[in-house]
Symmetry: C2
Subunit: 361 residues, 2 copies
């Protein structure tokens, strides 16, 4: 507390990002980064733009990037908004669209940044519990609401709704804004982007941090009706005219255009996910069906927090949430083949050693 | 208007950044970019970081960059906050520090983003007119206030207060936060950073867009008491955990450490400013004394708006503000020697041609 702080500071409950430890030979499976490096064409475009032109401001509207994204998704450039990572895009969406008189709805178990934004922007929200299978049931959203946000696939569970369910949700709530956060959609779920044309209340949020392996570049975007995009632009132009630097714009354009890299990198993660899920199941874990680049799993006999700590001692970092309903679970990023092997070997050893010890239960 | 917009959108009055025209052979003197390319070491660091490691998130706290900035300014890393350009740093400062019960004070003629932030965050503000010489007079700030923000050097006027005046202001308002926006300070004004040690109410905001020639990279920062920095961190961690990508952090570190480049690039701009100011004075312009990388000038016989339009026809873009008190003025960035020569030649021709024409008055 300081006498110089605004009243806002006291109501905040800041988000805690997954840690970025600086350890040598770390098996880093805690923040859902891609196991492969990004498109070489993206790296080339960035290097080419690391030039004297960096003295100049970037295009504040990122026109070329929005055009590339529009072409990729089959929409118009005016239906695309870009920002400094999807977290910034989400922040603007919370301020511009999700703050309504009636409460915003989202699941109890989902991206833990959503309630943080609600505190920042003083948004009333209501939590809708996932069903017993840890899945979103759209019937549970049939209640008075000002707006809805869902992550699809959901995080940290990894489970996804088919597009037809999202369409139903949109139809049932045609009079309020609905944001679908598709950070992980490329790893095997159906995108809601084709629904934008018929649903003016839909905003779909994507990121280049996951399926494009560009977490270090900070580019996210949203697709929706031009009126929703205009709302985001108004907030953006009241906050920071130039959210994306020249290198981010150049790298993102090249990444979006490199379809060959995208397909093979996605296939690599999807087959790695099968390997990881099967390996965990063989060790006795219950693994939720994942459409993302991570799996969410618990062992009926072992405490999630203890397992995460034991793995960390072996320089393997996974994410554990000390939160009701999911405290038993580990969220494990689909790493490289070598990383998956190391993780499974370490778990096998830990579970064996722990048999009969206090870590078992 | 859209029925899906939050109430916020209606109260916004977004900022209009200086245009970034896409014209060939443009003499671009409208957004105060540096005439030289950035430090080659910064470009090298960026190219080295355009690698597979871009798949990983950046350090959310930008520890190495904050350490480099702290060493450069002789403060502690906990006294440094970094953001996605100084516009983002300012936005967080408005939310975290400048929103108080009593009104925020700033000049009538200053960075036009300040009232935009006030609308975004619903901050009450009071305008304090510049004096007759278009300068800030700190005696005018002796009134009931919740916070103060001053740009020093001021923009678009370019005039600066000495550090002793800033110290007086801080002493007279020791119980409220005071932000000094030093975007242009390196071109010849005295920084308030040495006052941070003795003034817990002071936050100083800098950018790498101007004197480091990195407008395209998007890096800004603030220096102040650790409690003020903590307030900014709380807002940042409620908005976007990773505001600065890996390339921005790497490039900024290298730029800050390249003192030789910095000194010679600054000298180049300062001597260019003398040339530009003298040339304008010879053409009959009144030129305000500038401590920035631009000059603010008006011609007693020629309309600023008309001159700006005529220059634009010749592919020379300067900034004109259609605003009371300064509508006569042009804000002209100190460009390269060639650009300065082109501008002065064009003005000479325009003023000659206009003698006796309706553009003269």
């Amino acid at each position: 507390m300081s006498r110089f702080w605004s009243a806002l500071i006291q109501r905040l409950a800041p988000y805690t990002p997954g840690e970025q430890p600086r350890m040598a030979d770390l098996v880093k499976l805690n923040t859902n980064e891609h196991p492969l490096g990004p498109s070489p064409r993206a790296l080339e475009a960035i290097r080419a733009d690391a030039a004297d032109s960096l003295r100049l401001y970037p295009d504040p509207r990122a026109t070329a990037l929005r055009e590339a994204l529009a072409a990729y998704h089959g929409v118009l450039p005016d239906q695309v908004f870009v920002g400094n990572g999807s977290d910034e895009v989400l922040a603007h969406a919370f301020a511009a669209l999700l703050k309504q008189k009636e409460p915003l709805l989202f699941p109890d178990i989902t991206y833990s940044f959503y309630p943080v934004y609600c505190r920042l922007f003083d948004i009333t929200f209501q939590i809708v519990p996932l069903d017993a299978a840890m899945a979103v049931n759209i019937a549970d959203y049939r209640r008075r609401a000002g707006a809805i946000i869902l992550a699809n696939p959901n995080a940290p569970t990894g489970t996804a709704l088919p597009r037809a369910r999202i369409a139903e949700l949109l139809d049932e709530h045609a009079d309020i804004p609905v944001v679908i956060d598709e950070a992980y959609v490329d790893f095997g779920a159906e995108s809601a982007v084709p629904l934008v044309a018929s649903h003016p209340n839909l905003l779909v949020v994507h990121t280049l941090s996951k399926s494009r392996a560009l977490a270090g570049l900070r580019v996210g975007y949203a697709i929706g009706d031009a009126a929703l995009i205009e709302a985001l632009n108004r907030v953006k132009d009241s906050f920071n005219s130039y959210p994306l630097g020249r290198l981010a714009q150049a790298g993102a354009i090249a990444a979006i255009k490199d379809e060959a890299w995208f397909q093979q990198a996605r296939d690599y993660v999807i087959s790695g996910r099968e390997q990881l899920s099967n390996g965990l199941a063989q060790l006795g874990f219950e693994v939720l069906p994942s459409a993302a680049n991570f799996v969410f799993a618990r062992h009926p006999k072992h405490d999630g927090k203890v397992l995460a700590a034991r793995l960390r001692e072996r320089a393997i970092v996974v994410r554990h949430f000390d939160t009701p309903r999911i405290a038993d679970y580990l969220r494990i990023t689909v790493g490289s083949r070598v990383q998956i092997d190391k993780l499974l070997a370490a778990l096998k050893e830990l579970l064996g050693a722990a048999a009969g010890s206090p870590a078992a239960r």
